[in-house]
């Protein structure tokens, strides 16, 4: 006569309570804020039909806008890749007065409304601004050129590089570099063969996110770009203009292309990271 048949089944208790609730909230939020808008955009695009869609995005003005956006974002990313790496290096490796302040300043582009950034950049670089008065006579106009666009993009996206590289650099075991030193490596060899490979995945990830962010930047650019169709009109602005003209399909098509770029970049970023950290994979 065993009582065991009446024992309730044993259920492992989770150490952290609230798993269902917290996961549910997160998924709901993700759905509302990210998935539904993206799905709506895709549906809107699907409604257009492939022929029309192609006509919209291959119109000369749209192609020019995509070209300008991609070129400027590429310039901004190359700049940020170098400058962001340097900045992260300086913030981690050296001690100097004002270091904390500089570190905090690095977040300004995140915190500052992008319109404010655009306005101040325009004021600085316009023909009678502080920098403009020097650059303009020298034949380097920045405002209303692709350089202005690239600069605005670089300004708003540089923290992505700095803030992804910085923690990895901080966590690097100093013994690695010391080992390289005892093995006779000179500073450049230490950087290129030991330090850089260690931060490469983070750096690539930072650069791709910065690039994606640049593609979508709007507020900071519209002030400095001048927004001349075929010259300094970016894709996000063109979508906005289409929307203002109540051309929802036109806006959606352009937005979808931007979304496509962003997704491709995310994919590339993940593949690069996977490749760069391949030697971590096989363990355990």
């Amino acid at each position: 006569m065993s009582t065991a048949t009446f024992d309730p089944p044993i259920r492992a208790k989770r150490v952290l309570p609230g798993f269902t609730l917290s996961l549910g909230t997160t998924l709901l939020y993700l759905t509302l804020i990210v998935l539904i808008p993206v799905a709506a955009l895709i549906l809107k695009g699907a409604e257009i039909g492939p022929d029309r869609f192609w006509r919209i995005i291959s119109s000369p003005r749209a192609v020019a806008a995509f070209q300008i956006t991609l070129t400027a974002a590429a310039i901004a990313t190359v700049f940020n890749a170098v400058y962001g790496l340097l900045m992260a290096w300086v913030l981690v490796r050296y001690d100097f007065p004002g270091k904390r302040l500089l570190d905090a300043l690095m977040d300004v582009p995140f915190a500052l409304p992008t319109a404010v950034a655009g306005l101040s950049l325009t004021a600085l670089f316009s023909a009678n601004g502080w920098f403009g008065t020097v650059l303009h006579p020298a034949g380097i106009p920045v405002v209303y050129t692709i350089w202005g666009i690239a600069m605005a993009m670089a300004f708003t996206s540089v923290p992505f590089v700095v803030r992804t590289v910085q923690p990895v650099l901080e966590d690097m075991d100093p013994a690695l570099e010391q080992a390289a030193v005892t093995l006779g490596a000179r500073p450049w060899a230490i950087f290129s063969r030991v330090v850089f490979p260690a931060i490469l995945p983070a750096w690539l990830a930072g650069c791709t996110t910065a690039f994606a962010r640049s593609l979508g930047e709007f507020g900071a650019i519209v002030f400095i770009a001048g927004n001349l169709p075929f010259k300094t009109e970016i894709a996000a602005l063109l979508a906005y203009i289409r929307l203002e003209e109540f051309d929802y399909n036109g806006a959606a098509a352009i937005a979808l292309v931007l979304l496509g770029f962003a997704l491709i970049l995310l994919l590339v970023s993940n593949l690069l990271q996977f490749w760069a950290s391949r030697y971590h994979e096989v363990s355990r």
Binding site: D173, A175, L176, Q178, A179, A180, V181, T182, L183, G184, A185, R186, A189, R193, V194, P197, A198, Y279, H280, V282, S283
Partner: protein
């Protein structure tokens, strides 16, 4: 290469990490730096390697002033405590690193490097691991790769920081024997750091005991074990029982202590301190003695007794459980302590008047009953 260190000091902020280190190491010698954590062993090793710089002192290697030399130019083989293998390089590339980064005009050709790496892989018995990455290796394998990487540059001096610290006991013993073999095969001057006495004594030609930034004693295993130069070394070597005694005409006396086994010595009269190991004490039942047994625990082979004296505090004794007298050693029994072996240091403040300026130390080796 022979190393000669003198008057080396180093401070980090407010802490004196090295307080005047004088040390000579002969060519081809295998020396252990032994000391508790924080005694400055790693710092000393890093100064020799050129990874830290001393505040004062001299470091000569074969007569050349190494403090004028950058770490890169010293050709040191350094094995780090946690190996510091380059995680993104295969074992082969890790081993080749020191050769591959040489300036172009000194760099051996690709074929020479490959041959050298192959030779090392075989010598270290890790040929089957050549294409793995460090994360795919066990602790002992990483240790071998780390040593191989250091040996690849044919170092002048080999420095190892707690080489076996992170490994479990069985692998430690294996690697220890293996390292001894490697040292004998390469003949390189080697200094290794450890906080494990057994490791130091088993492996090294000479052991340097360090405490709080100073060298306390240099010598061979037996000498350090039997004749500790300072109370620090005595304690570090396991003489954890400290008893106050009085020296009178060269003989030590103490409450409830039978010190007849300790020979007479040339120390002035006055208070002194006896350092001894739990296993060098014999507890003898004696109704008139002031020591009482407080606890009695057995580990099978031995009894561990904790004894208490009303004024002197507690002392621990290890005694064979199956000895004839062991049955009488019950809790609360009064006992007298016969000290078979110990070291006596005169009390600091009296020492100056009683003996020479040098803190005297005399030890005795006595046949145990």
């Amino acid at each position: 290469m022979s190393i000669s260190i003198s008057g080396l000091t180093k401070r980090f902020g407010q802490t004196d990490v090295l307080r005047g280190i004088d040390l000579g190491v002969e060519k081809g010698e295998l020396v252990a730096l032994l000391g508790p954590s924080g005694s400055g062993k790693t710092t000393l090793l890093k100064i020799i390697a050129g990874l830290e710089w001393p505040d004062a002192g001299q470091l000569l290697v074969d007569g050349a002033d190494w403090l004028q030399l950058a770490a890169q130019d010293r050709r040191i083989g350094f094995v780090f405590q946690h190996y510091a293998l380059f995680p993104h390089m295969s074992v082969r590339d890790n081993l080749a690193f020191g050769l591959a980064v040489r300036p172009r005009n000194e760099r051996p050709g690709k074929a020479v490097i490959t041959a050298k790496v192959d030779e090392l892989l075989h010598f270290l018995q890790i040929a089957h691991l050549a294409d793995r990455y460090p994360t795919q290796l066990s602790g002992g394998q990483r240790q071998r790769v780390a040593l191989g990487r250091a040996l690849a540059i044919e170092p002048n001096v080999l420095l190892l920081d707690e080489p076996f610290g992170a490994l479990d006991a069985a692998i430690r013993r294996d690697l220890r024997r293996w390292l001894r073999g490697v040292h004998e095969a390469t003949g390189s001057t080697t200094i290794f750091v450890t906080h494990d006495q057994e490791e130091a004594f088993e492996l090294a030609d000479r052991v340097v005991v360090m405490g709080e930034g100073k060298i306390e004693q240099i010598g061979h295993a037996d000498a350090i074990h039997d004749h500790p130069a300072t109370p620090f070394v005595a304690r570090f070597m396991g003489a954890t029982v400290e008893l106050p005694v009085t020296l009178l005409a060269g003989r030590a006396e103490g409450a409830g202590l039978d010190l007849a086994a300790l020979p007479r010595r040339a120390l002035g009269d006055g208070p002194a301190r006896l350092f001894t190991r739990p296993e060098d004490i014999v507890a003898l039942p004696d109704p008139k003695a002031p020591w009482r047994i407080v606890t009695r625990t057995s580990n099978g082979a031995n009894l561990r007794l904790v004894l208490r004296h009303p004024d002197l505090g507690e002392a621990e004794v290890d005694t064979p459980r199956r000895a004839t007298a062991a049955d009488a050693l019950v809790v609360d029994a009064p006992v007298r302590l016969r000290i078979a072996f110990g070291t006596i240091f005169p009390d600091g403040r009296k020492a100056a008047t009683a003996t020479t300026a040098q803190p005297a130390s005399i030890s005795i080796q006595e046949a145990r009953q």
